[in-house]
Symmetry: C2
């Protein structure tokens, strides 16, 4: 059969990226347009837009393989905000081909990786009249804001969405140098720390030195989050985090990881982090607390009356997102901050860490599929240090494990200006998904589901 | 003679405020429009717009009183940025009368206080055909950005600007409860602290915990600026600051100052500041270091690659702005901040603290003028905790002291949203300026100048 060409997929991607489906700021109309565009691409599977209490989801199914396993393909059509437009070298909502990559907001997270699955399924159906497995599709529009309405939707439609396995087109290969599969991802809990003092901005001359400055207080809060050893200095933060076993340390040590290349790839003067751990251990095994942004006043002579920091904690092991939020809140409240008021607002989306057993049949089939597409290269079992909230949800509600099988790569400036996607991943991705579906068809569906639930 | 009415001045102010002369962001065209508008108001004094290397100045002079002193009236036609528009209850560039006050950006700082002087001089000339003193006018367009081009302009035009006394229509009465004169103002030096790490924003999951976060580092910098006692913890910062004498403490203690009313007026939960000093001592006698704004990232899941804090230090005594900038820079460089790069950029405008002798003839004439307008009220000699860079310049170049004689009041939300001006100050201000000019006319000009230079 003939797979869609890169040019065909790039033409589709150009249309799709042009719909600025930034779930933090786009109006409902734009989000509906993106959903509708995608539903049209799913015509072969009765693609349609379904309402939720937030932005709609895109659904579809092709169930013409009785007796074969049923796979729920998950992805999202929303994208991150652009951030500072001045830092983009190309227009964010216009795809630009730049050598081997295509640039634009969402090309890798995850409009490109979703598109290639849809194009593949359509082409296989057109060529063969059938697919090796039953496919259901659930493409949401709120992944980048923590999927606030997905849980209710999935619970309400659990029977329709029932599957033996979820395969997520979201996620990313760890790096471009070898094929990899993710066997774990970090959890997430996010919050805003809001410090207020006066009832308005005050002139820094006429009032300076007589009232507390919320920026100073917020800086004290942020500075207190980590100790001099780089560890998170919030009491109770590490509850549920197991110390690394010598075996796991040895496994990580065996991974071909060039710290200097990593440092250079992000352009930092030196790597930094929690004392006593290697960069890879910090990345894959240790929870983090990062301030994602801080805002107060402007560059002129005021004492701002309000200062806000947005904080995200990435969780591992059995860390409980609610307990972590409570620990951070308690820590902030325990600080002596005269003259200001401090509040901590925890975001709705709270996700525990996720794992899939490396022996799970889906991991074995996926490994075989990658070995077919990347002959002679060993498939690395990696950790997604990011968060995929849907995986926990699907396990809880559908009883199905999620295999992350994205052809994004983690260095493609996800969530940052100048996001890009390697064009070769279109073809590699389509060949790999085809091999995966073919491999999964040989499994007894119940066997897949049983291991999924048990692991 | 008939003074202009409030309605007449409000009509003029409406036109003037509508020209959004924000010197941080307005185009040259808008600044020229404001200057031109003001020059037309100075037609009685050959008003004109003159070029500088930045925004133009407005000049004028009426020199028809030979033998009488010459007064240079100073003010500015530029205004502060609006800040967050959401915090304004009225459109910033449209005057709105709200009971006893008029609202709008620049109404009190200092379009209103300048307008009343021009209207008064014009009316006096129309009524009497002469003024009691010679008047020169210099209204600049860069006061709110630290007057970067004023020094060169004043030096180049020193002979034309020569005066026995400068009277500034900029500044403010300390509070609405009694007439006051300023005998000192704080100096200023401002800087940006810029922390950078990676060469782009990084996903806080995919990279979190492995590279330094510039927000954490900047928070550590800001948190290090003050000790737990609220004092500035930068070595050398207090060089040139004399400890308060028991006499000065007694003077300040004798000022009728209601700390609880002050606290309530700005809406803070409690006053706060340097330990060992009263609120009034902190305000009038102690230097400060305030972070005016901080910016990094946005509210989404990144590790920002850059974080910036804008800092202003208000200076007293003989603190040297360059030495303070160097002390802050040295302090920041001395901090251990692994994995980031830190730079401190000091702004161009640097102003030492300013004083005028309370026995200066200008202060005595001004006191008499205020006593005439506010009968039965004692005139308070106060300190402007803000900064008036022009005063130092005029002393250096013209050898003339500056009397601050503004009819703004310090609580009128200078530099903040919802700036306002008390309408009654139009009439009070015109009567007071008239009495001041009349009083000054009785002085031997050389006597005024001599004390000015000597004090």
């Amino acid at each position: 059969m003939r797979l869609p060409t890169d040019d065909e997929l790039l033409a589709q991607l150009a249309e799709y990226v042009a719909i600025a489906s930034d779930s933090r700021s786009a109006p409902m109309e734009t989000m509906r347009e993106a959903a509708g565009w995608l539903a049209a691409r799913l015509a072969f599977a009765n693609g349609r837009v379904e309402e939720t209490d937030g932005f709609p989801v895109v659904r579809g199914e092709w169930l013409g393989a009785p007796g074969a396993p049923t796979v729920l393909v998950y992805g999202h059509y929303d994208v991150q905000p652009t951030g500072d437009l001045a830092e983009w070298t190309t227009p964010p909502f216009q795809t630009v081909i730049d050598g081997d990559v295509v640039r634009g907001r969402g090309v890798t997270d995850d409009k490109g990786p979703v598109l290639l699955v849809l194009a593949l399924a359509e082409a296989m159906l057109a060529a063969d009249g059938a697919l090796p497995v039953n496919l259901k599709f659930l493409i949401e529009g709120e992944e980048e804001i923590g999927s606030p309405h997905l849980p209710a939707y999935v619970r309400a439609h659990a029977a329709e969405l029932a599957a033996d396995l979820v395969i997520s087109a979201d996620g990313a290969m760890w790096r471009p140098s070898e094929p990899s599969l993710s066997v774990a991802s970090k959890g997430l809990v996010a919050m805003d720390v809001v410090v207020t003092a006066a009832d308005r901005d005050l002139h820094s001359g006429r009032y300076g030195g007589t009232v507390a400055n919320p920026v100073h207080a917020l800086a004290a809060v942020v500075a207190s989050f980590h100790g001099p050893d780089g560890a998170v200095a919030v009491e109770g933060f590490y509850d549920g985090v197991d110390e690394l076993t010598p075996e796991r340390r040895a496994e990580l040590d065996a991974v071909d990881f060039d710290e200097e290349a990593y440092r250079a790839s992000v352009g930092v003067p030196e790597v930094a982090g929690e004392a006593g751990y290697s960069t890879l251990e910090r990345l894959w095994e240790r929870p983090t607390l990062e301030v994602n942004g801080i805002t107060a006043g402007g560059k002129y002579s005021v004492i701002p009356h309000r200062a806000v920091a947005h904080v995200t904690c990435r969780l591992v092991g059995t860390q409980d997102p609610d307990a972590v939020a409570a620990a951070v809140t308690g820590h902030v409240r325990s600080l002596r901050l005269p003259g200001v008021e401090v509040a901590v607002h925890t975001d709705e989306g709270r996700v525990p860490a996720y794992r899939i057993d490396p022996e799970h049949p889906a991991i074995r089939s996926a490994t075989a599929a990658l070995e077919e597409v990347y002959p002679g290269q060993e498939v690395l079992l990696a950790v997604i240090a990011g968060t995929l909230p849907a995986a926990t949800l699907f396990e809880d509600v559908l009883g199905a494990k999620t295999l992350f099988f994205s052809f994004a790569t983690a260095d493609e400036q996800h969530h940052a200006p100048n996001e890009f996607f390697r064009i070769r991943r279109f073809g590699e991705g389509m060949r790999a998904w085809r091999a995966l579906w073919t491999g999964l068809a040989a499994w007894e569906p119940r066997a897949v589901a049983a291991v999924g639930v048990a692991s």
